[in-house]
Assembly symmetry: none
Homo-oligomer: 236 residues x 2
């Protein structure tokens, strides 16, 4: 199973719904809730969970933290505040990598998030294996769903990345650039662009360097050449 | 300057406030807003921006995207949808690493976010240098502030992590590119390059995309403009 998300005594139904939505974005689906302040089901959670109603409907409710984690093997606690407890404190990406490894080996893991105001109690931290601290600036006030977004994002980064990250079009063979250079040099010579002959070599070198930086495709070079020809031949 | 955050035609004041809060978490402070739907100032933005009121107070408002990016040298657009446009599409961490490198060298960068429903228009994407796509599961609906959280988080991960800059020239502010575009479009129009009026928008968009890829310095753009002017005016 992908990691479970466990909310400890969440206060606002809206936040529970927003967490569900955040989970959905990153293909996480198992939500467990320990002692939600306003009871369960919570209509505000449903309203806020647009598109992730299935996660809310499938959420499991527990009366204690210990109950909620009985079957979990490794627990990562997300906290903003520093803690005096002797636990490894790691960044989100490390947690995600570790969980990915556990996941590949069928080891059940969970991310836990404490109540909005107070965070997780030390007693509960004691049960957790590692603490995740999200890097922030000095003035940090990430809410529950935002923390969930970061954890989910780091989790999915380690999955088979289905996003098609492209680089740009395949650059043309240099031959095409040479064709462009020949044409342009001809126009520049004819239009007396290089005012003095001895300055030409360096000027022309700079121009070619600059044009090369575009890493243009063959098609793009054809476009550029057509454009230049048009300017040259059809002036007014 | 750390990267600016530019919101294009944001609809809900609440979302603007939530973006400001998200920014604050990651020590980003420069917010620019293009044509906010409900005008400015927006009381809902202030209410939502608890703890980040200074960012809302200091936000700069622009009537057009072009105005908002005049002094920016490298623009990263965040989009969820795939685009047919020929731009590099990269993940957030790569964008953050690149921006860190630019930042260390005083090159002004910006992250832009489109309107909630519709996203950024292709016309606007054309002005951008690279596209960031956040990896998500199949059902993705990250809101504005959540996308901001991920970008901010990746940004701060790279702080205290200064990279030595390589030897490419500092890219020009976009204003310089706009100048080049205006000049070139004028020549192309006068020389009847665009054979049919309805084909012009796409053709012209492709040409601008292609020229932007050079990441030219101000000096290089001046050279290119001088070269074009010379071709145009001194043709035999």
């Amino acid at each position: 199973m992908p990691p479970a998300i466990i909310l400890i005594r969440p206060q606002m139904g809206e936040n529970i719904g927003a967490v569900a939505r955040a989970m959905k974005n990153f293909s996480l689906s198992e939500l467990r809730i320990v002692a939600p302040r306003d009871g369960w089901p919570n209509p505000k959670a449903v309203t806020m969970a647009t598109g992730a109603e299935d996660i809310i409907d499938g959420a499991k409710i527990y009366s204690s933290f210990a109950e909620a984690v009985k079957d979990i093997k490794i627990i990562y606690a997300t906290t903003a505040r520093g803690r005096d407890i002797n636990k490894p404190v790691i960044p989100p990406q490390q947690a995600a990598q570790e969980i990915q490894e556990y996941y590949s080996n069928g080891v059940e893991c969970a991310f836990i998030f404490g109540p909005e105001r107070t965070g997780i109690e030390n007693e509960e931290i004691t049960i957790c294996d590692k603490i995740i601290t999200i890097p922030t600036g000095e003035k940090a006030s990430l809410n529950l769903a935002q923390s969930m977004v970061i954890i989910g994002y780091e989790w999915i980064k380690n999955q088979n990345n289905k996003v098609a990250y492209s680089d740009i079009a395949v650059p043309a063979p240099k031959e095409d650039m040479f064709g462009l250079f020949t044409q342009l040099e001809d126009y520049l010579d004819k239009s007396r662009y290089f005012s003095t002959a001895h300055k030409k070599p360096l000027m022309w070198q700079n121009i070619r360097n600059m044009l090369l930086r575009g890493s243009w495709s063959s098609q793009e070079i054809r476009t550029l050449r057509g454009m230049l020809r048009n300017l040259w031949e059809h002036r007014d």
